[in-house]
Amino acid sequence: MSTPSDNAPAAHSAGAEESRPSLAALLLDPSFWADWASVVGLVGLVIVFGIAQPVFLSVANLQALLLAAAILVVLSIGQTFVVATSGIDLSMAASVMLGAVILGLVNAAGWGILLACVAAVLATSAVGFLNGVIITAGKIPDFVVTLGTLSAITGLGLILSGGEPTMVGSTFLLKLASGSFGPFGYPVWVAISAVIVAHIVLYHTRFGVHLLATGGQTESAGALGIRTNRVKIAAYTISGLCAGIAAVLLVARIGSAEPLINTSLLLNSVAAVVLGGVSLFGGRASILGPAIGALMLTALVNGLTLLSVSAFYQPLAVGAIVVLAALIMRYQK
């Protein structure tokens, strides 16, 4: 990527170049497969599982699958914004836990569920903001800072909760988790809205252009007058915001705030971003890609469970797919 101006449209889709190549040429082009790895993977999984276990394609199972994927989709979007600036946010899963703990405590203190949700989202956004400030002001690598905050937030969550889970028996959250509008449950709509909003922010706002420019060519972007530090801080704050939304969805789903970190959420959020064709070096991103990557990882676990495949094989399958996707990425244009 040379200049930021040709970043945004090019990142939009693989085939959208000056001339539309024929379908055959597309299929023979490795970069097409690289950009659409998550879609191809998802379609492949649906076909395989659909044949092996017809229940997989039942409406009830697909709805359950989407519900289970909602949290990961939201997290992947947050991670995408950070990765687009060539950073990485390792503190995400810990932020989710902190958000959940704060939600539980504020609710238990009798402040009402809406305020509790807002407090949770504010807290995680503040964590993201803090990450961004430390990274840019201290000029420390993202990896190191977020690794540090992962640990610090974990401790904070444990101190606040005393290591005890808090029951959250709110009817509002129960409705959010179990109610549905049209074909999808509310959590799925939350995830869909997040995808749409993120897509607009990334492709149809000045901020989105600045974000990709910051990730692709930080120095040139700075020379063009883009405030790269502010852009980075904003990206981390968005990541924190997504962690907060995920925390609300998680508490709604299980009906309690647990001071436990789901490390697989963090690893899967990064994996979904990689599967979605987002470059870890920044500068190229998509929103739909990681969202479908998250769906694909959830579908993988769902399908293997339906097929009664031993639990021992599931992490192996996820790992193999992620490494395979990363290998394909080498062919990206």
Binding site: I159, R253, S256, P315
Partner: protein, 329 residues
């Protein structure tokens, strides 16, 4: 409840020193080292140790690892306590081997070593030149078997059940499942086993998938209560009548059973494990011989006794066998 969290570095470390009432000079001094206090299970155990020490007129000093994964930190604390002059050492190791080296000076001083909850590997201890005086802990296989027997009562013979395991390869989880499988062998069909990493949300997701794949399923056994509560939520959402049995006896599970949601759980009592450990030290201080292995009580809790158990929490809802209590009389 042994929820490992490899990445958790708890900033909260409470090195609490319980100073009991001032007893005569000859009161036995006990050093206790437990696992991470970031887990309610071990907080309860610490409470049991301290309250029993008060009751028996024993001075106790409790130290804990920083968190559930802090194997070396736990050994360092024990090493420091081994330097000091205690009459008896109460140890709950994070792994089978992490405290072996730290216990060598204790063994050289010929002080009794009371091993509670998690075992110390006997062959490694022997290689280091000592043996623990007594072991007190929950027999996970027996606890799993209790859950299996309850499942047999709840569901028709020959019907299908599923198992939700903890972290892949976890010793406690495997032992519980082994016990459950032994109890239902040939009488029920275990159609699937999934690992949900002790995580409530993962258990919910897995149970939803399993219910879709096996519409004729009649029961779930989850290796701990947190996961059982997640499974129960999935069952309630599906609207099916599927029995769910957990294991541990945490408060939320007892409440859920009392409310008619969870079918049953097998309660173990970290409070009693800690308390019996202190009693064992008191027996040793009297110069009596300790039994090599004492099983801690496990009780099946269902709708009939959930309320009583809640009332007595963290103590058992009924009486339990305790050889040390007899020896102290």
């Amino acid at each position: 409840m042994r929820l490992f969290n490899c990445l958790a570095v708890s900033a909260s470390l409470f090195a609490m020193t319980a100073s009991g009432p001032a007893f005569a000079e000859d009161a036995a001094k006990v050093a206790a080292i437990v696992k991470g206090l970031d887990n309610p299970f071990f907080q309860t155990m610490q409470k049991g140790i301290e309250e029993q020490a008060k009751a028996n007129g024993v001075n106790v000093t409790v130290q804990a690892a920083a968190n559930m994964g802090d194997a070396t930190g736990q050994a360092d604390r024990l090493t420091a306590m081994a330097m000091q002059d205690f009459d008896c050492y109460l140890v709950n190791p994070i792994s089978v081997s992490n405290l072996v080296q730290a216990l060598v000076p204790v063994a050289q001083k010929k002080k009794p070593i009371v091993n509670i909850d998690s075992t110390i590997d006997a062959s490694q201890a022997k290689a280091a030149g000592f043996a623990v005086s007594t072991y007190i802990g929950t027999d996970n296989v027996a606890a799993g078997a209790l859950a299996g027997e309850e499942m047999l009562k709840l569901v028709p013979k020959g019907s299908k059940v599923a198992i939700i395991a903890g972290i892949v390869g976890d010793v406690g989880s495997n032992a519980r499942i082994k016990g459950f499988k032994q109890a239902v062998e040939g009488k029920l069909e275990v159609v699937v086993m999934v690992s949900a990493d002790w995580d409530r949300e993962k258990a919910l997701t897995a149970a939803t998938d399993i219910l879709a794949a096996h519409p004729d399923l009649t029961g779930f056994f989850a290796a701990n209560d947190i996961m059982a509560l997640g499974v129960e939520r999935a069952v309630r959402t599906s609207g099916k009548d599927v029995k769910v049995i957990g294991l541990d006896g945490i408060v939320d599970a007892l409440k859920s059973i009392a409310a008619g949601e969870l079918s049953a759980t097998v309660a173990q009592y970290p409070y009693v494990v800690g308390a019996m450990g202190v009693e064992a030290c008191a027996v040793a201080a009297k110069g009596k011989e300790l039994p090599a292995n004492v099983p801690a009580p496990v009780l099946l809790i269902n709708k009939d006794n959930a309320d009583a158990s809640l009332k007595n929490f963290p103590r058992p809802g009924g009486d339990y066998p305790d050889p040390f209590r007899e020896m102290l009389k």
